[in-house]
Symmetry: D2
Subunit: 333 residues, 4 copies
């Protein structure tokens, strides 16, 4: 870590600061130039409160030279992490196609969708049982019963399943779930992350609406610091001023994450765009950017004819998308 001090820092101030830093078991190298003084902090700087340091009157700026995440850091783990779930693998050249309905609604629905997406090549089944909703009056999901139905669909198709947890007190219900999803709104629910770090389940960690790539990696680090290294990162759109799409899909996060971390990165074009007709082009773009997987909403609701065109793809549309995914993966070899 490098701290640059303002012009005019007195020797007494400098001495105070250096003393404080040494109390944190850091070695401090001082380089006094004609314009500024540069401090090089050597040691375990992951415990230094950068915000506090930066806010000191005498400090011009602070810059981490080593990233604040260790276990998620590619520098220390150059080899890609491959997460295995049942028959599926994600990362290190393995691509996962995760598909399924937004919410689990009935046994018939989830099994039909599961069979359809499997036939098109999906490797993992998604479906919401606990639904985080902005309004307390909106449908909050089938909860435990939803998980039970997902397990039925797993039995019927052999597809491993992924579903979201909102509260650590529900963890027992996830015993047979293959991948536990942490939603965007819980990305910095640090207590939840720590508890999930004590399990040995793969965790699909979604980027928060207004969180930086570094914050996403720090949240992965929370899980890893408790011992669980099976993490799949998911880009699902960030909040910007643009209103033509629900969120702005930040695909440059894919190669940036690949350079910073060994963890696999998947992309969710359905939630990011909020419109079915944007899912295919954004899915293709995600694959071309190097993503290790896709997470796509597919519904199968003949009773709701007007739902065509909403955020979810029909099984036929998904089949078309899945076909192109394979071709694009070849094209970028």
């Amino acid at each position: 870590m490098i701290a640059i001090l303002k012009h005019g820092t007195t020797p007494a101030q400098l001495q105070h600061l250096v003393g404080w830093l040494k109390n944190m078991n850091l070695d401090v190298h001082i380089s006094e130039g004609s314009e500024v003084t540069v401090l090089g902090l050597i040691g375990d700087t992951s415990r230094v409160d950068m915000e506090l340091l930066k806010s000191l009157d005498m400090v011009e700026t602070v810059k981490r030279v080593s990233e604040p995440y260790k276990q998620a850091n590619r520098k220390f783990h150059p080899k890609d992490t491959i997460v295995e779930v049942g028959s599926a693998r994600i990362g290190g050249g393995y691509f996962a196609t995760i598909a399924g309905p937004c919410s689990v609604e009935s046994e018939e629905q989830i099994i039909e969708v599961a069979q359809a997406v499997k036939a098109s090549g999906a490797t993992i089944l998604r479906g919401g049982a606990f639904k985080p909703r902005t309004s307390p009056y909106a449908f909050q999901g089938m909860k435990g019963e939803g998980i039970r139905l997902l397990l039925e669909a797993k039995k019927a198709t052999g597809l491993p399943i992924v579903t979201e947890i909102m509260n650590i007190s529900a963890l027992d219900l996830f015993d047979d779930v293959d991948i536990i999803q942490v939603g965007a709104r819980n990305m910095q629910n640090f207590d939840l992350l720590k508890e999930l770090g004590k399990t040995n389940k793969p965790i699909l960690l979604k980027r928060g609406l207004a969180n930086t790539i570094q914050e996403l990696l720090m949240s992965a680090e929370y899980i890893m610091s408790e011992g669980n290294e099976k993490i799949i990162l998911c880009e699902r759109g960030i909040r910007t001023f643009e209103t033509a799409t629900r969120n702005t899909l930040d695909l440059s996060a894919v190669p940036v994450l690949h350079s910073l971390t060994h963890l696999p990165v998947v992309v969710d074009p359905s939630h990011a765009t909020g419109k079915a007709d944007l899912v295919a082009p954004m899915a293709y773009a995600a694959v071309a950017s190097g993503a290790d997987g896709l997470m796509i909403e597919v519904h199968n609701n003949p009773a709701c004819a007007m739902c065509d065109g909403a955020q979810s793809l029909t099984p036929a549309q998904f089949d078309e998308v899945a076909h192109h995914i394979a071709k694009i993966r070849e094209a970028i070899q």
Copy 2:
């Protein structure tokens, strides 16, 4: 709720849509114009999934006419809510000055600061016991022991206390806490909100970094829908592209919230700006904008001489700020 349908919607599509809406117990008034068809939905539209409706192919746009929050809505509760905590009141003309250190560090520290801020006119003591930190390696607060020390400071000064909860499993520790704070990162931790709605403690609800004013009110509604109406809203800066300040303090949220809700609104200029020299002008601006209270960090750390100038004010600086607050409140009468 108004739904505007696209030009070219067929009668069959229209009939499907209307049938689906009527299944939700809504009355649907259809007004077919030469260019568009407008549907007026009458009934309890708070349960309608606006995102789904909007994403239908035939729908041009959807607009709520009634806000999706009921109990937090000034339309139905025109009178200002006044939250009482011990000797302090917030809202409806009562102003609260909440002050104290970022983190509780020791008994001596918290009692000294409490006495100092009380002498300057603070009405509530703040202090962090559980600290949400981006890094798993950073100091996470004194936890239960921190709450015990806050209670000592309360005993010594008579000031009611406010401190943050991160996890509902810690609720027992908050039995004697006067106001429970929900931090920005937990503003959409809906399960936590629901549990807090079952308590009868005042809740200080901070706006999330990337959350809209309406989402803040929906989170208040989560708490209120479970029976707890003692909510204090807090603006503490939003995330934007500007990097000169830690966050961008959105003071227009104060009059906007006052027009939409009867709940009191306080402002935290310390976290929003991240720099001590910006706290005073932003505190003054918050008061002038009509805020019902301020939340200001004050430290008292003679051993850390270099900390002057950081995000926290010294007791002397706070005294100066408190003096001006009173004068500005008079000036805007």
Copy 3:
């Protein structure tokens, strides 16, 4: 255009408003419901000041049903516009690869780069002569001499050229330029747009850093309203809170623009990301999202060995990228 009036609007207020709207030659259809009154405005609403209407006390919301752009609108011009420049075509299935250095620096440099990118398959040469720079003290480009050198490179290779204009007073210098570029900072320099609308040169219009897709189309409309329909839109990243990349490339703008307008859309991954190692993955993603072209910085500066790795690609890296572009275009057929 639909205007929804607030509950409680008096008949007198309604009469005033309707009179004012009729004065603008609009037909007004009034539909009074039990909760709200909906006005349908029929006629040329492109002249209605939506902001003013929205800000009236009695108005709940205003929604355009027809887009405010006419000539750029796909609804009225369903067929893709194909822009022809010399041997190159953009749009309607034709893909343009625009490549060249950030700034023109010397005759040798620009000709060498032009020959290299042509050999790899580039169809248009780019190069900055007038450089918009944040600092008045930074290099502002070779100006007229830069254009002269671009024309030399055009003569040497046959490639049509594109370069940026910053000021309409320099228009004479652009007589032999094939495509005139309007930079992101000038996207809403409306007087410049109108003057360019009077030329018959193709215009490459870059999206502003903080401009919505609709604003980009309104700026295209400014040019088209003066008679020039040869416009190429360019997505080049928007400003968000994320700092890992220079800007956030908004690739969903590509399919959104394709649905709204008949104009071709190209993507500039070099400026959006600011890092050479992100150019290839983002170029591939842009192609997969359906872009009609790419704009890529390529340098050739053996004297500046350390420049490798900066924002620009080397000719060898560009060759690799160009090769994959062709393969991805096939894969998405």
Copy 4:
């Protein structure tokens, strides 16, 4: 300027980089640590292309120690600049109340409003003659005739006038205008800024919708670098994700600017919020934050009764606001 090089930079790379920097007439101090190498660049670093330097493969980060603006910098000009226009002064303790209609519409209108706002204490008259409009089909202002009417109002009241320029070719029309305004969309129209730098008129420079505080100061520097030092900076809201207000007024920009520059800072709450009922609280907040002036829209349109409640204040509402401004200015002494 400090450049921090990545671990693993070879001596040959270092030598290349240092040679390149020395070619720019910079002294380079090299400090090799165990983890990183820090270069201190001494000399006129305002010409160094920070983006290029940052994008080099071997460079971890670059940090300016001296700000890139010189003439606008308080470090070199500690005394507040006071801009004098006729009877009005702005900055250094002098407060300017700028008021008037959004657009000049008629002689009667502008003179009536001018007289009304003068009676309430306004010191400068505003009014738009050239109107930057998103749509080419919207009213673009009365142009030259609008300026003539503003001059009539000036004659009738003695108030100096401020109005916006959109194009340097119109400069002749501004001969008798007291303050020339550069709108938010032209903040980085560098050629316009340079031309205005050659005049000796005070310039009111509005912050762009998505521009940082530093970029605002760099645009001021463009004007100053050509010799014109009479600049008034104006905060008028930035673009964020929040839609409850038209823009997000960034009041912390006021004290931040006061610490960085000697130039006066005014605030425009009318455009920032877009709603009349938010103008008063935001005007009060701006005064309390230390602004040197306000810019407020006031209309006087008895023929348009329904316009009450729109973005502009009525003369009576403005009178009330002006009264409170004076009281708040006293309260913060």
